[in-house]
């Protein structure tokens, strides 16, 4: 793993504006960005810990905790909001046994995130699991969609 991290760092050596793409690549590799990783990256690149942490917490894409095997992104865009996005979120939580404030299931199968807009407004309500987008989602359709992911 450490070799892979070093390879990523090497790719950005001597380049400008690397903080965001570097953290993005690390997140793809590890699934999230740990505190230890931030310290390690800082040591290797000379970018201060505060700057790395500042960037990692500023952008919604970065995760500072381990994630489930599959990421569910529920769209909270305007069209989805008026088409019952909250109902879909309640149904997902109910189906997966997630309590308020929890985002990852106990078995590590899913992490549930809310995103601002997936841009498929005409098919609202929309959810995205990993890289697949599902449109016109309903409470009745949800179990069938979620069961595809183990």
């Amino acid at each position: 793993m450490k070799d892979k991290v070093d390879n990523i760092i090497a790719r950005y050596e001597g380049k400008k504006g690397i903080t965001i793409p570097l953290l993005q690549d690390i997140q793809v590799l590890e699934g999230y960005i740990s505190e230890d990783m931030i310290r390690y990256l800082s040591e290797k690149t000379g970018i201060p810990v505060a700057e790395l942490y500042g960037v990692a917490t500023f952008y919604s894409m970065f995760r500072l905790k381990p994630q489930g095997r599959h990421i569910i992104r529920t769209c909270k865009g305007t069209a989805c909001h008026v088409s019952g996005a909250d109902i879909i979120i309640s149904a997902i939580c109910s189906h997966l046994g997630l309590k308020e404030g929890e985002s990852t299931t106990d078995d590590g199968r899913f992490t549930l995130l809310e995103v601002a807009c997936l841009g498929c407004c005409s098919l609202a309500p929309v959810i995205m699991i990993d890289d697949t987008t599902y449109g016109k989602v309903s409470v009745a359709k949800l179990p069938g969609i979620l069961d595809k992911y183990k």
Binding site: G17, V82, G119, C121
Partner: protein, 583 residues
């Protein structure tokens, strides 16, 4: 007549509706006499998945609402008429849904395969760039764009030619040209569709702009939530470089231009140009004071020009057809066309491009087909979290920058979400404010804390704890936030509240004085119960309930467990027997 070619629409909306399955099944089933091609978005998202069928004579029909059962009908050309969406893609005016539309920025969307540069070249692709590089001086390019009257389509509406002129006049050994593809407005997807459907038109627009201002390096800053757009852009950049349309010495003119792709990391504020620049530099995306404007000091301190996707996609068309052809469309101060993402409670959701000055009513009732389920339009939300809600009585407002501003909303980037009487306007105002509050970068105090205080007030109104003075407090805070925020996010954040207060004050008052939500949305103010006399035990409500709060055997009376019920209203919406009572 035998079918010669079938084109399947494979943009995000199509894929979400299952277009890839249709494509794969067709690939297996089609005889070799029929060509199978890919294309992207025709803008008729409501009918996805869709495919265009082209016969031997070149006649084309577009079918929608496809499912795997339709595959055999493609081969025998017996697809039912009820699935026919467009009778001829080339004769758009003859088709109901596209009548009144005029496609300039989206001219190739849904017509070409975005992953094949050859398709784009057949549509005069990169001809405008060639003309510019070999026949135009940079000043002539700028004059052409100025004469066209094109204004920035990202929302602010600044004249594009003038912006280029500022960057042209800045003296520096190095300049940058950036495409802002960080389309963050919830409810907007114009730029995503253009990038997914016709990425080369944006790259060509960038190259023309770079030539005009004297830049040799450019960035596309694209939202990471748009993985397909990112993928197609990457591919398009590589193809354009391989053909010499980007890179060194383009068309042997001595002009060189290299484009890099930067993925955003999820921050709405990065749509603001100085924040976007900070983000490309690898920093937190926080806006800074202007001046200096990016035209003087932008990326890495060098003169930089930033334009939005739709603006850039229009550039090659203007060069090819002339400034006056573009300026012939639209109104006195808003020229050309505007793309809108039509969504919400309208029948025909999708992407529409209309001449500036078209009325909201034409877009919603003619192109959009009116409101779903025979309900009535209540308001149209324009401009996302920076915009406002325009009430039904103002539907005859023409869409141009100035007319929209008069309503209290803004043109914005083009998100148009239609709302019916099932939408609570206090809830919508809170929805947008929650969004801007969450996305505020935190630099300006009033934006950071003021929006929070406003949100708290809206939340307590929704919970039935509002007091009459709250309205005045909301107005006062709005004024302060607008007056003391640095960037567009803060300056416009109160707009959704101000416009709903202006047009729907009675709804606020009903929440505050009568503790009642007229639309039946605010959870604390509604209560659902099943009328045993009316319930037929059809189980529809139980299946629609997201928290399994409804129990009962088939054909027997159902009941709602009030402890589990979250008052979402899903049961009320689905019941066919008016058995769910909302009080």
């Amino acid at each position: 007549m035998a079918i010669r070619t079938i084109k399947v629409g494979l943009a995000s909306c199509g894929l979400a509706a299952g277009a890839d399955e249709i494509y794969n099944l067709l690939k297996e089933a089609l005889p070799s006499s029929i060509r199978l091609e890919k294309t992207a978005c025709l803008g008729l998202c409501y009918a996805e998945p869709m495919a265009e069928v082209i016969d031997e004579q070149g006649g084309s029909r577009v079918y929608g609402y496809l499912s795997s059962n339709d595959i055999p009908h493609f081969i025998s050309d017996t697809l039912p008429d009820r699935k026919l969406v467009l009778s001829d893609i080339r004769e758009a005016p003859a088709n109901r849904d596209v009548a009144g539309q005029l496609r300039i920025a989206t001219r190739n969307s849904g017509r070409i395969d975005p992953d094949r540069i050859g398709d784009y070249l057949e549509k005069q692709g990169y001809t405008a760039l060639q003309t510019v590089c070999t026949q135009f001086t940079p000043e002539k390019v700028i004059d052409t764009i100025k004469a066209s009257g094109l204004r920035g389509r990202g929302g602010a509406g600044f004249p594009t030619g003038l912006k280029w002129e500022f960057a042209r006049k800045a003296k520096s050994d190095k300049k940058y040209f950036i495409c802002n593809a960080d389309e963050g407005d919830p409810g907007a997807f114009m730029d995503r569709n253009i990038l997914e459907s016709d990425p080369h038109s944006v790259l060509e627009g960038m190259a023309i702009g770079a030539y005009a201002i004297g830049a040799d390096e450019g960035y596309v800053y694209c939202r990471a939530e748009y993985p397909l757009a990112v993928k197609r852009l990457k591919f398009a950049i590589a193809e354009a470089e391989a053909r010499g349309f980007l890179g060194y010495n383009i068309f042997n003119s001595g002009f060189s231009f290299h484009i890099h792709l930067k993925e955003g990391a999820g921050a709405f504020v990065c749509g603001e140009e100085t924040a976007l620049i900070a983000s490309i530099e690898g920093k937190r995306g926080m806006p800074r004071i202007r001046p200096p404007y990016p035209a003087e000091s932008g990326l890495w301190g060098k003169p930089t020009n930033i334009n939005n996707v739709e603006t850039l996609a229009s550039i090659p068309w203007i060069i090819l057809n002339g400034a006056s052809a573009y300026a012939a469309y639209g109104t006195e101060k808003s020229k050309g066309t505007k793309v809108f993402a039509l969504a919400g409670k309208v029948k025909h959701t999708g992407l529409v491009e209309v001449p500036m000055g078209t009325t909201l009513r034409t877009i919603i009732e003619d192109i959009g087909g009116g409101i779903k389920d025979g309900r009535k339009v209540k308001a149209v939300q324009l401009g996302g979290p920076s915009g406002g809600c325009i009430p039904a009585e103002l539907l005859d407002t023409p869409v141009d920058y100035d007319s929209i501003v008069q309503t209290g909303a803004i043109m914005g980037s083009g998100g148009m979400v239609v709302m019916d009487d099932s939408t609570c306007m206090v809830n919508i105002a809170a929805f947008f404010l929650r969004f801007t509050q969450n996305e505020s970068c935190g630099k300006c105090t009033f934006c950071r804390i003021g929006t929070k205080r406003m949100l708290e007030i809206l939340e307590r109104i929704q919970e039935g704890r509002g007091v009459p003075e709250d309205i005045e407090k909301l107005e006062q805070l709005s004024e302060q936030i607008i007056g003391s925020s640095l960037c567009g996010l803060g300056k416009t954040a109160p707009n959704p509240v101000l416009t709903t207060l202006r047009y729907f004050k009675d709804e606020y008052l009903a929440h505050i004085n009568e503790k009642r939500c007229p639309a039946g949305v605010c959870k604390a103010l509604v209560h659902f119960e099943i009328d045993p006399a009316a319930c037929t035990g059809c189980t529809l409500c139980a299946r629609a309930c997201p928290v399994k709060a409804i129990s009962g055997e088939k054909k027997k009376t159902h009941r709602i467990d009030q402890d589990t019920c979250i008052s979402c209203g899903a049961c009320y919406a689905v019941c066919n027997f008016n058995a769910v009572m909302r009080t």
